[in-house]
Amino acid sequence: MVQSLVHVCLAGISAGMFIWLVASGLTLIFGVLRVLNFAHGSFYMLGAYLCYTFLRFAGVDFWLGVLLGPLVVCVVGYFMERFLLRHVYPLELPYQLLLTFAMVLIFDELVKMIWGAGSIGSPTVPGLSGSVSIAGRDFPVYNLFIIAVGPLVALGLWAMLEKMWWGRIIRAAASDREMAAAIGVKVPALYTGVFVFGAWLSALGGALAVPYVGLLTTGMGEAIIIEAFVVVVIGGLGSLKGAFLGALVIGLLTSFGTRFIPTLDMFLTFILMAAVLLWRPQGFFAES
């Protein structure tokens, strides 16, 4: 029983880390640009498919694929922000949401056209393909690696936002964009930068997910964006700390739910999301 619980925990944490990578970019973009990006899951999906393609057809090393895939997604993100999203900032909320929703449709179909509608089997990672014995049972090394990556990314983000000068600029623009513009911050360029960086985070999650999920499908973006929405809502829209904790909560909740009450695991997730929205719309882990 104990060993089973340990493994359910570990599985939940590693699943939560992928949601965290998507949710971190989502919440960062929302905090600065005030746009909730439905297409953020599509960046995750694109990151995965591109990484896979580099591995399979360019024959590169897995780690090079993890580097290159998200970089291509950055270019996609750049064009999306620069030529589409930028024009809808002054508009009402529905138009912003629907623009990003339109991008979901477009990305999904493009992936189907390029890579086919069926699912694709993915490779294992040399060096991290084995498993170790934890509490008397085998656990994949790669999942342990993922559990380490999540907090590292969180630490990196924290250091960037709190300790570096451009982190301060990002925070300034997030709290008051007119004021930031008035003291000389180039807000449009900053928006582009934050959006591209957010896209990179999500695509990194996707690329790292390639050996983890085993099968790539066009639905993977839509599945994770909903989880990421739940996470950023629970953590408080715009809060990175909240997103990290929220991702852990959702990962664990899903993992335990699937183990013990498999018919209700999805239901529980959305109950939690609705409850937080109703009683603490600023987020469960927000300071005030």
Partner: protein, 318 residues
């Protein structure tokens, strides 16, 4: 447009629809029914979205509730179609009342997220409560029994007969929604959209009005779902999935948000374009994404709004 023109147009529209019902091929009949069902869904939805200014991402849940209500009523209770449709609409309205009670506490992005969460709850219930809903297989083989009215009974088994059943509900819905738009109630909803603080200061219970708009739009969504079940003879949980909630938004946007006939025109475009695009390519969603993008970037009034603006501009110049 003045009043008499509206009547003439409406009469012409009904005449054309009756003509289609009497003389068309089965394929055209089927498409027209789909247009009418989607119109009911979108026009009802637009009471909440275009009128009250609330963007819901959970209305597929009410559509699906109506659909399951009709299916379950037909299978377990009584096969009378009118009874089933009424049961479906009531089920959807009750569901909308419960969910709306919580959702109207927020607006804007929080409202959208709440409706998304509740919608997905409904989806997951339909997916998981296998004993009642049939799980991911859904319910199938729902038959259209004749409408018995005491002594006589009207068969609606054939598509050409069922068409008039849908047409009747369509006309009634259009009239009702038109009436709601012109009523004091409808005007209050518009004032909430324009400025909810001032509406509140005028002494109106804004939340209650929002809830009423939510329930009405949910009921119409349920009606659309119920009619769709009889048309397709089956229903699956995917009818409640959040991505399906985007359909009425798309339709309203294509036609024009703040116009009465916008969702109607949008529905025709949606169904016809989809049919046309699907003939040439499997990737019709790609084209819809591009169309949606074009509307948001360039034609935010939709077809009806943009055309009206164009007419107005040319008449001002001339």
């Amino acid at each position: 447009m003045n009043r008499s023109w509206t009547y003439i147009l409406a009469a012409l529209g009904i005449a054309v629809l009756i003509g289609i019902g009497l003389f068309s091929s089965r394929f055209i009949l089927y498409l027209t029914m789909r247009v009418m069902i989607l119109s009911i869904f979108a026009m009802g939805y637009n009471i909440l979205f275009g009128r009250t200014g609330l963007l819901s991402f959970g209305h597929a849940a009410f559509y699906a509730t109506g659909a399951y209500g009709v299916a379950l009523c037909t299978i377990h209770v009584h096969s009378h179609p009118v009874l089933a449709v009424v049961a479906g609409v009531i089920a959807a309205a009750v569901m909308a009342l419960i969910i709306g009670f919580f959702c109207v506490r927020h607006t804007e992005i929080y409202f959208a997220m709440l409706t998304l969460a509740f919608g997905m709850m409904v989806f997951s219930l339909m997916w998981n409560v296998r004993g009642i809903t049939g799980g991911d297989d859904g319910l199938s083989g729902i038959i259209r029994a004749p409408i018995s009215l005491g002594l006589i009974s009207i068969p609606i088994m054939k598509d050409s007969q069922y068409y008039f059943f849908v047409l009747m509900f369509f006309v009634v819905s259009v009239l009702l929604i038109h009436r709601i738009g012109r009523s004091p109630f409808g005007l209050v909803l518009a004032s909430i959209r324009e400025n909810h603080v001032r509406t509140e200061f005028a002494g109106l219970p804004v939340k209650r009005y929002r809830l009423a708009a939510f329930v009405i739009s949910g009921a119409f969504a349920g009606l659309a779902g119920g009619l769709a079940v009889f048309l397709e003879s089956n229903v699956t949980p995917f009818a409640a999935h959040w991505s399906r909630s985007a359909d009425p938004v798309l339709v309203s946007l294509m036609g024009g948000l703040q116009t009465f006939s916008g969702p109607l025109v949008g529905s025709v475009l949606f169904v016809v374009l989809r049919e046309l695009i699907e003939r040439f390519t499997h990737n019709w969603m790609l084209w819809f994404g591009l169309i949606l993008l074009a509307i948001i970037m360039g034609f935010r009034g939709g077809i009806v709004g943009s055309t009206a603006a164009l007419l107005k501009r040319s008449s001002e110049q001339g």
